[in-house]
């Protein structure tokens, strides 16, 4: 672990980072100054009302024990993919495949940063900066300033094998700050998989530029280590007729906040963000926060948010989702659904769905609900001889189904579905 990242964020300054390439250093300095201006999040911030930032900004992370997978094969193991492994936030070349593939360029951020000029310059910290207004995201600026590793990925063609980032967690006190820059060229296509806890505390920023007619698919399975903490940001900019689809599965984890900030800049683009989070407070604290901000700034774009949470034994869920439709973004189709299934009275869910619309010819809908299992349905299933716990699992999976349906690749969707099913089976009663 680089000692620099162990410093309290409160003391970071422009020259806290080792000097790298000119453009990268400039971007980092810029981010540090931005952070200094906006300050770290506090509990008094409206945007942090339901999720306490304290443990995310503490000088050192609370230790997190490693999850015992008991020999269970890791998620996505049977999917044909290009594997890239990070251990506690550090790239592990020996465990990784060759960083090459048809229609694909992958470099390490550290290598790119020392070059004089690179296309990543136009994205690193740039999309993050754009995502800082109207709501400040100081921890993303912190990441840009402090990131110690990450990838720069460019898809120049339609890449058939998914690029799979595997985040291993080995050090119980690790504090990883990773930053990826991804560009999907015009008409190109990329599928990115991410899985693993990465660290005791994990900060991740991905800046994704999806060019005209390009497609970006993202499926993430966050680590199961009970005490781990994660703050992730995904900043995406979408070109005309492009497609962006991101799905995240979260089971376990003391604290997770996933922010997704999407800017729809080209006409006819599509953006879908979905998530399924399952938490059982009996295993330790579980707090999961999905924070989404989608800006429609072009004509006839479609955006869709589908977030589902299943919570029990004091597990907590948060959803903050906003659709902003700019004055010229006519024919916008915006949809937002956030639902929680509370399996007992101790679980809780807070939601703030927001629409802010300045165009007149738009269709936007949002709905947020939280409720218990449907007793009528449960009795119906049981009356057919299905035991209580299996009937409950069937209903929970049914509840999660429309989030999982957002995953386009059916093989990957089936894998996610199986994992959720297995989690439910382990957490009965």
């Amino acid at each position: 672990m680089n000692t620099a990242t162990k410093q309290a964020p409160a003391v970071i300054s422009a020259d806290a980072r080792p000097v790298s390439g000119a453009w990268a250093q400039e971007a980092r300095t810029d981010a540090a100054q931005r952070l200094a201006r906006m300050g770290l999040p506090t509990r008094r911030d409206e945007y942090w009302k339901w999720t306490r930032p304290d443990s995310l900004i503490a000088a050192t992370p609370a230790p997190a024990a490693l999850f015992d997978y008991k020999g269970e094969p890791p998620v996505f193991h049977q999917i044909d993919r290009l594997k890239i492994v990070f251990v506690d936030g550090v790239f592990d070349p020996d465990a990784s495949d060759d960083l090459s593939g048809e229609g694909l360029e992958i470099e390490r951020l550290a290598d790119v940063a020392t070059t004089d000029i690179h296309w990543a310059k136009d994205l690193y910290g740039v999309l993050e900066t754009r995502g800082q207004s109207p709501v400040a995201r100081p921890l993303a600026a912190y990441n840009t300033a402090m990131a110690t590793d990450g990838l720069v990925i460019r898809a120049t063609g339609r890449v058939s094998r998914p690029v799979s980032l595997i985040y291993r967690h080995q050090d119980t006190e690790s504090d990883a700050v990773m930053h990826h820059v991804i560009r999907v060229d015009e008409g190109a296509k990329l599928t990115l998989l991410e899985n693993g806890a990465a660290a005791a505390r994990f900060s991740s920023v991905s800046e994704v530029d999806v060019a005209d007619g390009a497609e970006f698919h993202h499926v993430r399975a966050q680590g199961r280590d009970h005490e781990r903490q994660a703050i992730t940001h995904m900043f995406a900019r979408l070109g005309a007729a492009s497609v962006f689809k991101s799905f995240t599965m979260t089971v376990n984890g003391r604290l997770t906040r996933n922010e997704c900030v999407i800017e729809m800049r080209g006409d006819d683009a599509t953006a879908h963000v979905a998530g399924a989070a399952l938490g059982d407070g009996a295993d330790g604290d579980f707090h999961h926060d999905d924070t989404v901000f989608i800006t429609h700034d072009a004509v006839a774009c479609e955006s869709r948010q589908v977030f589902k949470k299943v919570l029990k034994n004091g597990a907590k869920g948060v959803f903050q989702g906003k659709i902003l439709v700019k004055p010229d973004a006519q024919k916008t189709d915006g949809y937002q659904k956030s639902q929680s299934l509370l399996l007992d009275d101790d679980a809780s869910f807070q939601a703030k769905p927001e629409l802010e619309i300045y165009a007149d010819d738009v269709i936007c809908s949002h709905g947020s609900t939280s409720g218990a299992i449907d007793e009528e349905a449960l009795f119906y299933l049981r009356s057919r001889g299905i035991p209580d716990h299996i009937a409950t699992d069937l209903l929970v999976l049914a509840f999660l189904a429309d989030a999982i349906d957002e995953i386009e690749d059916k093989e990957i969707a089936a894998e996610i579905s199986d994992r959720l099913d297995a989690w439910l089976a382990r957490h009965r009663g």
Partner: protein, 254 residues
């Protein structure tokens, strides 16, 4: 097979008595019908027998082949051979009809210590049963009862019954909402299942169903009790004269 003895039931949440001493015995191989005015407690009886929450049994009991029914969980009652075709089948979005049925069939087999049915055998089995009830393959793929018409829901209940092969079948107004052809189809389905080891309790408002499914005994339920029992002619009497005469007669007796 089914014995109900002086069954008293009130609502759990409020002090409302619904069943006030139901006595009924349905022997194996027989078909009994229950008729009775709206709100007399017919569905409540069927729910209590199948184990739905929300009721308190304050007196009496019920057994299935000598086993205390009321002590069992709903799924145990099903495994023991009890089946209720719901008056209002429940819609379950997100759960496929096929998955639902396969899970149910295999859960019951497992509970009885039998081997699970293979996917291929199950498919063959359900296709054959569905065909008999004119249920198309597309309906099997859809979520349980979601978007089904009233009649489709009722046919789906009978399909479940045919798949699960229970020994005690309670049909709660399975005829309501069925067109003439569907009524015939459903009745044929029920009649095909009639045998020495199986019994039926058919709740209905209409004599017409009983033309197809010939009952051995007809009971009239009113005010939470069986107030009169007789042969099939009792259903004809209700059809022609309504309940007024029967109820008046009971008043006089009481």
């Amino acid at each position: 097979m089914l014995k109900i003895n002086n069954l008293h039931v009130k609502l759990e949440e409020e002090d409302k008595r619904i069943l006030k001493g139901v006595d009924l015995e349905v022997p194996a191989g027989s078909v009994h019908a229950i008729m009775g005015p709206n709100g007399s407690g017919k569905s409540t009886l069927s729910y209590v027998l199948s184990g739905r929450d929300g009721y308190d049994v304050t007196e009496g009991g019920a057994t299935l082949d000598g086993e205390d029914l009321l002590d069992m969980e709903p799924e145990e009652r099903a495994a023991a051979g009890l089946f209720l075709a719901f008056q209002y089948p429940v819609e379950i979005p997100g759960v496929g009809n096929m998955t639902f049925l396969r899970t149910a069939v295999n859960a019951q087999r497992k509970a009885r210590g039998e081997e699970e049915m293979s996917a291929a055998d199950f498919l063959k089995f359900i296709r054959a049963k569905a065909k008999e009830l004119k249920i198309d393959a597309e309906m099997l793929k859809r979520p349980v009862n979601v978007g089904f018409s009233g009649g489709e829901k009722k046919r789906n209940e009978i399909l479940q019954m045919a798949m699960l092969e229970p020994k005690m079948c309670i049909l709660d107004e399975t005829d309501s909402g069925l067109d003439v052809d569907a009524m015939k189809l459903v009745s044929d389905g029920v009649n095909a299942l009639r045998n020495e080891g199986r019994a039926f309790l058919v709740i209905t408002h209409y004599q017409r169903l009983l033309d197809h499914i010939k009952p051995d005994v007809v009971h009239i339920m009113a005010g939470g009790r069986i107030v009169k029992s007789g042969g099939p002619e009792l259903a004809l009497e209700v059809e022609h004269n309504g309940y007024a005469d029967i109820l008046a007669e009971m008043e006089v007796e009481a």
